[in-house]
């Protein structure tokens, strides 16, 4: 291109301007008239040469400014939402130019925030506009993390990024334990207090990094909200040790109550719904369903289990092994084929969920909705198991496209796979959480009402 070899003639500063040469929109209109003439046509007069040099300089300055703007958009981009906004802005700016191609040169031993932004744009560049709101795990490497990220959080983040821990509760637990380590190693600087300094300077970088590894699940969001609220309850004059103790204790309590205890109670309640000689159908491998079935077996019931597996994420295989070792007869299907027959043979369907929205819809692993719909049509009762920490009272989703995640390993310009799907209320007979005891289970709405009452005192 004309501006490129003129730039080379212009001299040394080529390495300074990091991105490869792009024609700036404004300056491009001015030089081509003279620039085109340069190498091809007649020799330029000194005045024309001067004008060309001026135009090049303006073009270079515009490029540098644009790079700075793109980079400035990238640096405060923490959560997926902001990242999307910046990406939108970047897309707009470069819309007038060639396709986005920002690739700052990678210099070792320098904080590498920028390359992660560029990588994200490249990975998502073929996703159509209408799906651009759906996040995808960015899976940053450890070298791209902010320097304040605690090693425990780094490790947890990497495990989440590589999907070694996938479901919401394991991620939540890993996050909270990592945050405990962060709190333990935290020292308030001299002229400020924990309640003012901790959240913006220490906690937020950790949250940013975790979000960059993989978009946060609702339970993590809820827990962090509660944690921040807890930090705010501390007075400025509270001594640091007391504050730290308080935080650690509240996290411990939270884990005990809303993860461990909840899991135990749900397993106990749900196992009472499994009767003698039942055929229980389940989809994929969910920790609560596993606990329930093992518990029911321990209670001495005789039943059999039919496992429908997710063909992409074959967790059902391990579940089958575990249940078989516990002495439960198993029937296993590797995918959704033959679902109609299977649900007719089953007496109960147990489904685990990742989250429940305020509309009562259940979000679960992709495929859960298919099983629920087929089961309802066949007249089999469908029981959903979900801890209350996974309930989101603020978000409503009526379809699977509002809140979802793209599988980072299975996407291409032709198609991509979504990780979750939504099951409408009418296909679920009832939800079991840690609140109900005894027989009977309630629709999601009733549980949401109880939750609202419960959480209000803390938020106030």
């Amino acid at each position: 291109m004309a501006t490129e070899d003129n730039g080379a003639k212009g001299g040394a500063p080529a390495p300074q301007v990091q991105p490869p040469q792009k024609t700036a929109p404004v300056a491009a209109s001015a030089p081509p008239a003279t620039g085109e003439a340069g190498p091809d046509g007649p020799k330029l007069t000194p005045a024309q040469l001067k004008a060309k040099a001026k135009a090049e300089k303006a073009a270079r300055r515009a490029q540098a400014k644009e790079v700075k703007a793109v980079v400035a958009a990238a640096s405060p981009a923490p959560a997926g939402q902001d990242g999307k906004a910046a990406k939108g802005k970047g897309k707009q700016e470069s819309g007038g130019l060639q396709p986005p191609n920002v690739k700052p040169s990678h210099r070792p031993s320098v904080s590498g925030r920028r390359p992660s932004f560029a990588a994200e744009k490249d990975a998502r560049s073929f996703i159509p506009e209408c799906f651009s709101h759906i996040p995808m795990a960015k899976r940053v490497q450890t070298s791209h993390a902010h320097k304040d990220v605690h090693p425990a959080v780094l490790a947890a983040g990497q495990q989440m990024a590589t999907f070694a821990i996938k479901d919401s509760i394991s991620r939540l637990e890993a996050t909270l334990l990592a945050f405990k380590k962060v709190i333990e190693s935290y020292d308030t600087p001299k002229d400020t207090s924990l309640s003012r300094h901790f959240v913006p300077h220490v906690l937020n970088p950790q949250i940013e990094y975790l979000t960059e590894c993989r978009p946060m699940c609702f339970s993590m969001g809820n827990a962090i909200r509660l944690l921040k609220a807890q930090v705010n309850t501390f007075d400025i004059n509270t001594p640091e040790d007391e504050a730290k103790e308080g935080l650690l204790e509240s996290i411990d309590l939270f884990i005990r109550e809303r993860i461990n205890l909840a899991g135990y109670l749900i397993a106990r309640n749900a196992s009472q719904l499994v009767d003698e000689d039942d055929v229980v159908l389940t989809y994929g491998r969910h920790r609560l369903v596993e606990k329930t079935l093992l518990r029911a077996k321990e209670n001495g019931k005789n039943f059999s289990v039919s496992i429908i597996d997710d063909p992409y994420d074959k967790g059902g295989l391990q579940l089958a092994e575990i249940l078989q070792q516990a002495g439960i007869p198993i029937s296993y299907s590797p995918n959704l084929g033959g679902l109609g027959t299977k649900v007719e043979e089953a007496t109960t369907v147990l489904l685990g969920g990742e989250a429940i929205f305020a509309s009562g819809f259940l979000q679960g692993a992709a495929g859960t909705a298919d099983v629920a719909i087929a089961a309802t049509k066949a007249g089999t009762k469908v029981i959903a198991l979900c801890e209350t920490i996974n309930f989101d009272r603020e978000r409503i989703s009526l379809d699977a496209l509002t809140y979802n995640e793209i599988d980072p390993e299975r996407n291409s310009p032709e198609s991509f796979r979504l990780l979750f799907d939504n099951t409408p209320v009418k296909y679920i007979s009832g939800v079991i959480t840690e609140f109900e005891s005894g027989t009977g289970f309630s629709p999601a709405q009733a549980i949401l009402a109880i939750l609202r009452k419960q959480e209000d005192p803390i938020i106030a």
Partner: protein, 560 residues
């Protein structure tokens, strides 16, 4: 200018072992004045490379370990050498335990009290002669996801009761590359695949190439055994425990080990472990499938040591505070499944039935994949080149512990384009400029920039030809000299009209006029008389004779 490290720290500390070189007889005759760690590879002191690796990983707590006799030399280099001083803050510590001499085994080093008190967290052990271009965050990711047991890292109560601890990670690289070096050491290694997980590993990660180590032994030891006995005896327990065993003979241990903290206790408990590579890693790998070996090596004591629970049997959580009635008293099966352990420890499900046996965390290996080597003899070389599109070369991982390796690695690094030519250089080892001091190069000289490296302050006279060479700082190349594939260290003076091919010239050596040397090594401070013609000779001063005896002894003991 030193700047601070600006990436996140992975919570590891690094130990770099700077031993004397026993396989470098020519150049480490004086291990105290010229320790192996300071020999230049591509004009940077050898120890710069593992230090740079640590800084790129975000590790800031780095300790160099050297014998007290070499301390002064290394200290002054750390303070004065331009490459070492331009490494980021915080700078590395130098520790010289008083009981460390030139023959101490590497595991014995870790047993010394200074080191035992120094290591407080999971740590990484590097040799000083490592050149590793592989991006360390990939290794860290592999460690965090596959080896390290997350509840152990996070201090979860469950890990205390179930006795599962983090494992280790090692790296093995292929020595049979397109340009093999004669006499490079290899290791006899056997690995088994990790339990399959349905999760696809991220593109570009090394998680695909991870496997579990079950056997490791240097090929030299293997040859000794084969000489003494008719074959290598391996217990049947290996085949009983693992169905698919893959045996590798041309790979070499890069000696990059990410170890959990409890390894220090293991080394302390077992006096018979002398070297890390052969003994610690080898025995640990075997303990995974050989019964009774774990008990002999006191694994139970070591693994359960950090926790208050004396026995490491997976017990119910009656010991954790206030959890008695909350947690179901079902077997740890449920606990391990609900904590979704990393794939490496999912074997808990199978070993759950043998609860009495201590669960040994596995030692994992990253076996660096190498692109297929094109067949050396092709009837029409052009067709084979066109048929196989050139795959990008895998990142360079090499242990540089012989002179030939030094030469070859330096030349390979010299081929990297400099930062001046291509600023988007992915390799961290590119120099700023190929010819650092172009004013010293007179007219009518030929220097092939694409594969040579010329350092600061080098004077090159007219009519010289320098092809594929690495020339250290302050050298003088006189008129008419022809150098090809040579490595010159600091301050070398090459006389007029010399012809040097594939030579390695030590510090401040001097080659007289008209010499023709091929495949030679010249020790430091040595003067080679004019008009010498030599082929494959090692020029050493007579005072080097005592050193060779000492170095022979240390080779026998299997040292660096």
């Amino acid at each position: 200018m030193p700047h601070a490290v600006t990436i996140a720290s992975p919570g590891l500390q690094a130990i770099i072992l700077c031993g004397p070189g026993s396989s470098f007889p020519t150049f480490t005759a004086n291990p105290d004045e010229n320790p192996k760690a300071l020999l230049p590879i591509a004009n940077r002191p050898m120890v710069w490379y593992p230090l740079d690796f640590c800084y790129r990983a975000g590790i800031t707590d780095i300790t160099l370990v050297c014998p007290p006799s070499a301390r002064e030399a290394i200290n002054s280099a750390l303070n004065t050498n331009p490459f070492l001083t331009s490494l980021p803050y915080p700078s590395a510590d130098l520790v010289s335990p008083k009981d460390l001499d030139n023959n101490t085994g590497t595991a014995e080093i870790l047993r010394l009290p200074e080191l035992q008190s120094l290591v407080k967290s999971d740590f990484i052990v590097l040799p000083c002669d490592l050149v590793c271009e592989l991006s360390p965050d990939k290794l860290l990711q592999a460690w965090m996801v596959k080896s390290a047991y997350l509840p152990d890292l996070l201090g979860d109560e469950r890990s205390a009761s179930s006795g599962l601890r983090s494992g280790g990670l090692g790296v093995w690289y292929q020595t049979k590359t397109a340009t093999p070096v004669k006499g490079e050491e290899t290791d006899f290694t056997a690995t088994v695949p990790l339990p399959p997980s349905s999760v696809l590993p991220p593109k570009g990660s090394i998680l695909d190439n991870m496997s579990q180590l079950v056997y490791s032994m240097p090929t030299d030891s293997l040859k000794d055994i084969l000489d003494d006995e008719t074959g290598l005896a391996i217990r049947q327990a290996l085949c009983a425990a693992h169905a698919k065993v893959r045996v590798l003979t041309t790979y070499r241990d890069a000696h990059i080990y990410i170890f959990p903290r409890w390894i220090m206790d293991l080394i302390r408990e077992n006096d018979q472990l002398e070297t890390i590579g052969e003994d610690v890693v080898g025995w640990w790998a075997k303990a995974g499938w050989q019964e009774n070996l774990a008990a002999k090596l006191n694994f139970e004591k070591v693994l359960g040591a950090a926790e208050d629970t004396a026995d490491s049997k997976p017990a119910t959580t009656t010991t954790s505070p206030g959890n008695g009635d909350k947690e179901p008293s079902s077997p740890p099966l449920t606990k391990s499944s609900s904590s979704s352990p990393p794939a490496a420890t999912s074997s808990v499900a199978e070993t759950e039935t043998k609860r009495k046996k201590t669960l040994i965390p596995p030692m994992l290996a990253y076996i660096q994949p190498s692109p297929p080597i094109p067949p050396p003899t092709a009837a029409t070389g052009k067709s084979s080149g066109a048929a196989a599109p050139a795959a990008p070369a895998p990142p360079l991982i090499r242990r540089v512990d012989t002179a030939q390796l030094l030469l070859q690695t330096s030349l390979q690094l010299a081929r990297l384009p400099s930062l001046e030519e291509s600023p988007d250089q992915p390799s961290p080892y590119a120099h700023a400029r190929k010819v650092a001091y172009p004013e010293g190069v007179k007219a009518r000289t030929t220097i092939t920039k694409s594969d040579s490296l010329v350092a600061e302050n080098v004077t090159v006279q007219e009519k010289t030809s320098i092809k594929e060479c690495v020339i250290g700082a302050n050298c003088t190349i006189s008129e008419g000299a022809k150098l090809s594939q040579c490595l010159l260290m600091d301050g070398v003076v090459v006389g007029k009209n010399c012809k040097l091919t594939k030579c390695i010239l030590g510090k401040r050596s001097e080659i007289g006029e008209g010499c023709t040397l091929t495949d030679c090594e010249v020790q430091e401070n040595l003067l080679v008389d004019a008009k010498t013609e030599a082929r494959q000779e090692k020029f050493m001063s007579s005072s080097g004779l005592e050193a060779t005896e000492e170095t022979n002894l240390s080779i026998f003991l299997g040292q660096f």
